[in-house]
C-alpha cells in the first residue's frame, strides 16, 4: 500500500508544476483570497469616534492574509513531499454536480417541488436505478411526504411555483 502511494507521489513529481494537484489547489485558494482581499478595500471606513478597537475591514483582511500565507506554506511543503494523485472523477460525479445546478435553475424559475423531483429522479437513474416503481417512489412519493410533513408539522410555506401553487390554491 505504501509502495503504491509513494509511486503515486513520485508520479506527481514527474508532472509539470502547473498540472500538479498541489499547485492547482493552492492557486485557486490564493486567487480567490486575493479577489476577496481586493474587495475589502471597498468596505466602508468607520469614523474614529464610532470605531470600536479596529476597523471592521481589518479583521477579514488579516484572515485573508493568513489564509494566503498558510497556503503558500502548504505549496512549499508539497514541493518536498508531493501530494498523491487522486483518481479521476467518474461520470456520475459530474452528473450529480450538474444536477445541483439544474436544481438551482428549476427552483428559481419554475418550482421548488419540481426541482426536488427532477434532481431525485435524475440522480437515482444515473446512479443505476432503472425500476420505474422505485424511481416514482424516490422522485414523487417521498418528496410529497417530506413536503406535507414540513408543511403541517412546521407550518412551513414553500416558495410559489407552478406545482406548489396548485397545492396552495
Amino acid at each position: 500500500m505504501n509502495n503504491v502511494q509513494s509511486k503515486k507521489r513520485a508520479n506527481q513529481k514527474s508532472l509539470p508544476f502547473f498540472v500538479r494537484d498541489a499547485f492547482r489547489v493552492c492557486f485557486v485558494i490564493i486567487f480567490i483570497s486575493i479577489i476577496l482581499l481586493i474587495s475589502t478595500f471597498s468596505f466602508d471606513i468607520v469614523p474614529p469616534i464610532l470605531n470600536r478597537g479596529i476597523q471592521p475591514v481589518t479583521f477579514p483582511k488579516g484572515l485573508l492574509i493568513l489564509i494566503i500565507s498558510l497556503t503558500l506554506i502548504v505549496y512549499y511543503l508539497s514541493l518536498k513531499n508531493p501530494w498523491k494523485i487522486e483518481k479521476k472523477l467518474p461520470k456520475p460525479f459530474f452528473i450529480t454536480l450538474l444536477n445541483f445546478v439544474l436544481f438551482v435553475i428549476i427552483s428559481k424559475f419554475l418550482d421548488f417541488f419540481l426541482a426536488i423531483s427532477v434532481l431525485s429522479v435524475l440522480v437515482s437513474y444515473f446512479w443505476g436505478e432503472r425500476r420505474i416503481l422505485y424511481l416514482i417512489m424516490v422522485s414523487i412519493i417521498f418528496p410529497i411526504i417530506v413536503f406535507i410533513f414540513f408543511e403541517t408539522i412546521l407550518g412551513l410555506r414553500f416558495p410559489p411555483g407552478i406545482i406548489t401553487n396548485l397545492y396552495y390554491y
Binding site: D21, V25, I29, L36, S39, T40, F43, D44, V46, L50, R52, G53, I54, P56, V57, F59, P60, L63, L66, I67, L70, I73, V74, L77, W83, K87, L89, P90, P92, F93, I95, T96, L97, F100, F103, V104, S107, F112, I116, L119, S120, V121, V123, S124, W127, G128, E129, Y134, M137, V138, F142, P143, V146, F147, F150, I153, L154, L156, R157, P159
Partner: protein
Amino acid sequence: MENLSLMLAPLFSSKLLIVLFFGTLFGLILGVLPGLGPTTGGALILPFTMTLDPLSAIVLLTTIYCAGTYGGAITAVLINTPGTPAAAATCLDGYPLAQKGEAGRALGMATVSSVVGGIFSVIVLVFFAPFLAKLAYEFGQPEYFALAIFGLTMLASIGDGSPIKNLIAGAFGILISTIGKDFMTSIDRFTYGINELSEGIGFIPVVVGLFAMSEMLIQSTLLNQIFKRVALKAVKLPTLKDYKSTWKTILRSSGIGSFIGVLPAEGGTVASLIGYSEAKRWSKKPDEFGKGSIEGIAGAEAANNAATGGAMVPTLALGIPGSATTAVILTGLIIHGVRPGPDLFREQPEFLYGIFGAMLIANIMFFILGFFGAKIFARITLVPNKLLWPMIFAVSVCGTYSLSQSMLDVWIMLLFGAIGFFMRRYGFSVVPVIIGLILGELVEGTLRQSIVIFDGNWLLFLTRPIALTFFILSLIALIFPLLKKKRK
C-alpha cells in the same frame, strides 16, 4: 441530592422519555449509515426541534449525539466501513474479529465499552462542567479571546490530515462568519449588494452542505464499491474472561476520551485513535491488535463515546464547542434562546441537569436498542445509495429552507456541498470550517473589545495570567502536531 433529583427528572417525564427513545433510534440509524452521522443528522433535525420546548430539543440533539457515536461501531464491525469517523479505529479489530465468526462478541464488547465510556463521561460532565463554569466567571473579553484562539489552534491536531490545511479550513470558517453586517458598526462586509447576505450566512446551510451534500458527491464517486458484509446472528454480552482482559482498557479509554472531549474542537475521532493506540501500548498482547483484538475494540469504543460527555463540558460551560456535533447542539441552544456559559449554571440548573440526566439515560437506552436491535440496524445499510441519497437530498433541502424560509440558504448549502467535496478530496478537513464559523463572532468580538479595553496596546494581553496560559497552550497546540509529523 437536589441535583440528582433534577438529573432523574427526565425519567419521570413521558414526553422526555419519548424524545429520548426517538432520539436514540434516529441516532442509531444515522450512526449506522456510512456518510451520515450525528453532525449531519443533528443539523437536519434542528428545524424540527422548533416544535419542541428548549429542554426537549436539546435532549433530542444530545441523544442523537450519544447514540449516533455508538451506531458507527455496528457498520465498522459488520462491513468494515465506519458509520461515523469516530468508529474508524473500531474497524481495525472489529471487522477481523467478525470475519472469524465472532461478530456478536465484537459488537457486544463495542456496546458494553461504549456504554461504560458514555456513562463515565456524563459523570465527568456533572462534576467538571460546573467547576469550569465557576472558573469562567474570572474570564473577561481578553480571556475569552485567548480561549477561542486556543480552540482554533487545537484544530491543527484534529484528524490525520495536515495541521496547516486544518488551520486554513478554520480561518475559512471564521472568514464566512464575517459575511454580512458587522455586528458592532453595521458596516456591510462581503455582501456585494445582496440584501439577504446582510444577515450573514447561516450555520445550518453550511453544515448540511459540508457534511451531507459533499458526502452525496463522494458517494457518486463510489458507486461501484462493493461492501463485504459479515453475517450477524445475535449480539453477545462479553464473557467474564473478556471483562477481565478489558476492564482496565475500558477505564483508561474512558478517561482519555473524556479528557480529549473536554479540549475545544477535539472530538470522538481523535479520542478513539488515542484510546486505541494506548490500549495497544498497554496491552499484554499487542501483536493481536489489527487481527481481531477484543481490547482494541474496547479501547476505541470506550474512548469515542466518552468524548461525547467531555465535549459537552466546554459547550455548556463556556459556549465553545468541543466537537462538530456539539457545534450543532450549541446552535440549537442559541436558536432556543439558551445562552451557554456560567450564568446558565446559576439560573437554569434544572435545564442543565435535565440534559445530564438525559445523556445518562440515552446511554442505557442505546445499550438496550443496540443489544437487541443491532441485527435490524445492520440491515439499514442494505438500502441502496441510489435510493437513499436522493431521499436525503429532499430532506436536506427542505430542512435548510425551513429555518429562514430562504432559497438563498438552499443554494448556499449546495455551494458548500461542492466546496466540501473538493476540500475533502484534497485533504482539508471540513470540521475546522464549522468550528471556525461558530467561533468567528466570538473571536472577532472579544478581540475588538479587548483592544478597546487595552487602549490599542496588544502587549497588555500578556499581563492577564489566564489569557497568557491559553496563548501558551495555543502555541503548544500549534507546535505539537508539526513535531509529531516531523518525527513520523
